[in-house]
Amino acid sequence: MNRGYYWLIIGLAIPAFLWLVPTLWMVSLSFQPNEVLARTTSTTLFGLIPIPFTADNYAALFSFGQTPMWFLNSLIVAVGMTLGVLAVSTTAGYALARLDFPFKNAITVICLIGLMVPEQAVFIPLYTMFADFGWHNSYHALILPRMAVPIGVFLMMQFFKAIPQDIEEAARLDGVTWLQIFWYVMLPLARPAMMTLAILTFLYAWNDYLWPLVSAQRQEFFTITLGLASIQSNFAQSEGLGRVMASGVIASLPVVVMFLIFQRYVVQAMTVGGSKG
């Protein structure tokens, strides 16, 4: 590597550090006592180093905090939504990509036209619909609406289209049914695309704020985004800055850890999705 490369590394260190500072600051504040933080956040190195140190905020979170429950809800919703989206998208995506049936073109257009509709255009009627059926405050209320968005179908369709036709022809010659081909042949091949879709859906579910805000009115169904939002709007009335920051850290930690472990797949997935999408 030439000298230019080393200058690059050094030059990038500062922006990288700056980019990390907000997160570092949150972590540091979460380890400082609330009484100190109420007066000043700048005790040591602008507050970036947690001195005075305390683990009380975290202890409090786990003994009587709502954060673990919110976190669990987010996890259930995210996993449920991911599985649901994968299920409907792989099936529909394959059918639209490779099978022949009457009105195929019309149905394809109908399915994909939904790509134009953003969440915000339907959240109000969805809200009234779910209210009429008494479905709010439930996991299915939080999971189902997103399964209807055709982005997953589109992604899987693109992927399946790119697979050479010989595989199916060979299988058909062997007398394998279409459904068997889908299950035993296509799905395993589709793993990279499924990974992409799974990651995108999981992140979307984890991040969703607007829909849970209007649908989940009971705390036991608050997702982590909702829960954190409800404690951050007025610090003067909450238990203290340190505790709130600790909630934020707990909210993010598992996702960050997951990302660090799977990051190769995430990047791969994004790459595959990006160049095919």
Partner: protein, 423 residues
């Protein structure tokens, strides 16, 4: 034999079926997760109310309560959404000014006939308290307090500026005097005279309202908005003169303005009755800047005394029935019984028996703001008061945060409030 067992099981279920009623309770006031159940030891609105709720959960047989705390700013959005979604909390707190909206739609339960059975005596409520929960001839809630705007005073700063007499702070009696005193504080101590949340919640609105009422004017009269007038302009300029002269910072939000006062960076904090015990506790701490703390009535700067006031009450949804309804009413009764504990926050109690008790009179600083009850005034009633307050908050913030012209802002506010009244 099988039938016997099944029969026994069914019987057992029926008997124990009237087991724990799960009551959901919606409130703001903030979160306090380690409140415990000792209602005498808690400090601050959040912890006191949560300790009362926890105690109710523990002491009321067969009732378990789940609290749904929400932040103050979004509370009514969530309550409305939950009513519209068919799952309102079984018991929830409300402000008096929202009753016309909710009771008018039939959302709240009319409970005048059921109070006695639950152990609540409406005759013990002060006259104003009873009026506060009444609408259209019925009773729609159990009152919990009156709260009003006060002037929280840092006596040390006032003393340095020479504004203390007889152990009481010398407060202005006109807008001109207000500016004078502010200058005195600035000259003597270098600190701001006054702090308040002008940037976030409608506290600035309440200030302006009080000043308008002091001039015998109001923001609307039946169906006509009366905002673009001299009284409102006077009220607004009373405040902006402080901003312009640098004696108050309009950009601080609730938390920041409170912190400024506690740090000793402002002589006066305009806030409500709900923080008296909190500030008392803070002032007692050595490391907190505030030391000598006094609670004063909102001073009269114009013709008559007036300060913004509202009332908290607890209501139950009209859709609640049977055992659940009875259980919810029991919870309301419990809260009513602990009125003296809630009054410890600094709020004014609603029960005559409490108001006349020695314990109440002995609460810290209570004798300093006895005048408040007399000058407390309610906001004018309207189904759309929430939206009206939002309009005022926006326009007033436009004036002191973005320099919008007072006349234009008041005219815009009047037009929009008129729209709301017309709908």
């Amino acid at each position: 034999m099988k039938h016997l067992i099944i029969g026994a099981a069914v019987a057992a279920t029926v008997v124990t079926g009237a087991s724990a009623q799960e009551i959901t309770l919606g409130r703001f006031f903030g979160a306090c997760e380690d409140a415990g159940t000792d209602t005498k030891a808690s400090v601050g609105e959040a912890c006191i109310i949560q300790s009362i709720i926890n105690a109710a959960d523990a002491e009321l047989d067969g009732i378990s309560i789940t609290t749904l705390p929400t932040d103050w700013g979004n509370y009514y959005d969530q309550i409305k959404a939950s009513y519209a979604g068919g799952t309102p909390p079984d018991v929830h707190v409300m402000h008096r000014h929202r009753i016309p909206e909710f009771a008018g739609l039939g959302a709240l339960a009319e409970i005048s006939g059921e109070l006695a059975a639950a152990g609540i005596d409406p005759n013990d409520w002060s006259e104003n308290a009873l009026a506060a929960v009444s609408y259209d001839g019925g009773i729609y809630g159990v009152p919990m307090d009156f709260h009003a705007n006060l002037w929280h005073v840092n006596m040390d700063l006032m003393e340095q500026a020479g504004l203390v007499a007889d152990g009481k702070p010398v407060l202005p009696t006109s807008p001109a005097e207000l500016l004078e005193h502010a200058q005195m504080v600035k000259d003597a101590t270098g600190q701001d005279y006054l702090a308040a949340d002008f940037a976030q919640f409608p506290i600035g609105v309440r200030l302006v309202l009080a000043l308008m009422w002091q001039q015998n004017a109001n923001i609307f009269d039946e169906d006509t908005a009366t905002i673009n007038n001299e009284a409102a302009t006077n009220a607004v300029t009373t405040m902006t003169q402080l901003f312009d002269a640098g004696h108050a910072n309009p950009q601080l939000n609730y938390a920041d303005s409170q912190q400024a006062f506690l740090n000793g960076e402002a002589a006066i904090l305009v806030n409500g009755t709900w923080v008296v015990d909190f500030y008392t506790a803070e002032a007692a701490k050595a490391e907190v800047g505030l030391n000598n703390y006094y609670v004063a009535d909102f001073p009269t700067l114009f013709d008559t005394g007036a300060t913004w006031a509202d009332s908290h009450m607890w209501a139950i949804p009209a859709s609640l029935e049977g055992d659940k309804r009875a259980a919810a009413l029991n919870v309301l009764a419990f809260i009513n019984d602990h009125n003296i504990d809630w009054a410890r926050t600094g709020h004014m109690a609603v029960r005559n028996s409490v108001l006349e008790s020695a314990e109440y009179a002995a609460l810290p600083h209570r004798d300093e703001y006895t005048g408040t009850a007399a000058i407390a005034r309610d906001t004018p009633p309207s189904e759309r008061y929430g939206a009206i307050q939002d309009v005022l908050n926006r326009e007033l913030q436009a004036i002191w945060l973005t320099g919008k012209d007072v006349g234009v802002a008041l005219a815009d506010a009047e037009a929009e409030v008129q729209d709301l009244l017309d709908r």
